[in-house]
């Protein structure tokens, strides 16, 4: 994989008159795992959405390989796989269909392996609406993990997960950064879950 570089320069965001975050700067490159820590309501999700270009910051900018993402949105999105609060799965379709009709190119073996790792193989042909919260979350995570994109941005990936899945997800993240990927996750837990991380604390 090519070396990639994500730079965030003094981001500032207001919602109406309420300051969500200000003066956030960092720089991460291939092989980094950034954990954004903060309490509920500290603006983790807003920051993540701003990094993905979904929300427009009032000040500052996000640069991918030294180009502002506003100017090269498609290049950026070609490298980005995002999982938000919402799983982005269509409840009326089965797990398998959801992964197949996704927008990213995936290879079948890699996908099966990931589904297996999350222990979802038996549920492959169940509708998403019949799955539990944790199972849906794992399906959504499988989509990100099996996408071959270098940058993963995961909002609260550990919520609703059992310990086996957490360790499997950590393995996947570990493999990904070892092969030159970049991962950004957010969490409201204090204990560290993954190893080898850079941390960013937001909110007071």
């Amino acid at each position: 994989m090519n070396r990639n570089l994500l730079q965030v320069e003094s981001l500032e965001l207001y919602r109406e008159d309420h300051l969500i975050f200000s003066d956030i700067s960092f720089q991460i490159e291939s092989g980094d795992h950034l954990v954004i820590r903060g309490q509920n309501g500290s603006g983790k999700t807003s920051l993540i959405r701003t990094i993905c270009g979904l929300t427009q910051a009032d000040k500052g900018k996000v640069l991918w390989n030294e180009a502002s993402i506003d100017e090269s949105l498609f290049n950026y999105y070609e490298q980005l796989s995002y999982l938000g609060h919402k799983n982005g799965l269509i409840p009326e379709l089965t797990l398998d269909e959801n992964l197949n009709y996704g927008l990213d190119q995936t290879d079948k073996d890699g996908k099966d392996q990931v589904i297996n790792g999350f222990r979802l193989t038996d549920l492959k042909h169940s509708l998403i609406q019949n799955l539990s919260n944790g199972e849906s979350r794992k399906t959504a995570l499988s989509r990100v993990v099996s996408s071959k994109k270098p940058l993963w941005v995961l909002d609260e990936p550990y919520a609703n997960l059992d310990s086996d899945s957490i360790s499997y997800l950590n393995n996947c993240i570990g493999d990904h950064i070892n092969t030159g990927g970049i991962v950004i996750t957010s969490t409201n837990r204090d204990d560290s879950i993954a190893t080898k991380t850079t941390e960013l604390l937001i909110g007071s």
Binding site: Y14, R15, E16, D17, Q56
Partner: protein, 248 residues
Amino acid sequence: MNFKRIYKYGSPPNYFRLCLKYENWFTVPGFLLIIIGCYGGLFLAPPDYQMGDAFRIIYFHVPSAYLSMSAYAYMALAALVGIVWRSNVAFSVAKSIAPFGASFTFLALVTGMLWGKPMWGTAWVWDARLTSEFILLLLYLGYMLLHASIREQKKADRAASVLAIVGVINLPIIHYSVVWWNTLHQASTISKLSSPSIAGEMLWPLLVMIFGYGFFFWGVICRAGATELLKREKRSNWVKEYVEEHQS
């Protein structure tokens, strides 16, 4: 870059200062022209041989109608500038034009109906221009309601601006489809209206009124836009400085 100059010129504090400085250059001539126009239209112009004194409402109807339509175009233009350059100045101008545009549309409708009563014997006739004026009112209301329904200012600005731009593309289509539909039904009624050979002494107060309305409108928009901008930029330093300056 040329854009940088526009940015600098259209920066909020600059715009605000310009507005306050030149506001009176619009409002004062506007008032004077309206007073002259009123006097000319209501006292100097001779009564119409067909409609008598009732025709004098034209001096309020026509300027309102002109202004209501051009205001929509200005609003859409400001909305476009706002979207392209993400300019808070343009968004606040667009937002402050809407209620005035809607008011003038409403005024044009009411005066049109008042005029219609002696003309056609009934207040409402499905005349093409009245109908498209009504549709214009709906477009203004749609803009304002959409803006008011979205809680976040930034989002509301951009969404309502898209609607304003789509509206301005659609406005001529709507207008001509209404005209086309109308000509099939009552071509005779509007021809009475559209071909009055207006005499010079009747015409000049009308022109004066049209310009007076225009000047007045821009004076009001200067102030309303500046106020709107002040509200939006209350976090920024220039507003704090301005307030401190004027408190002492």
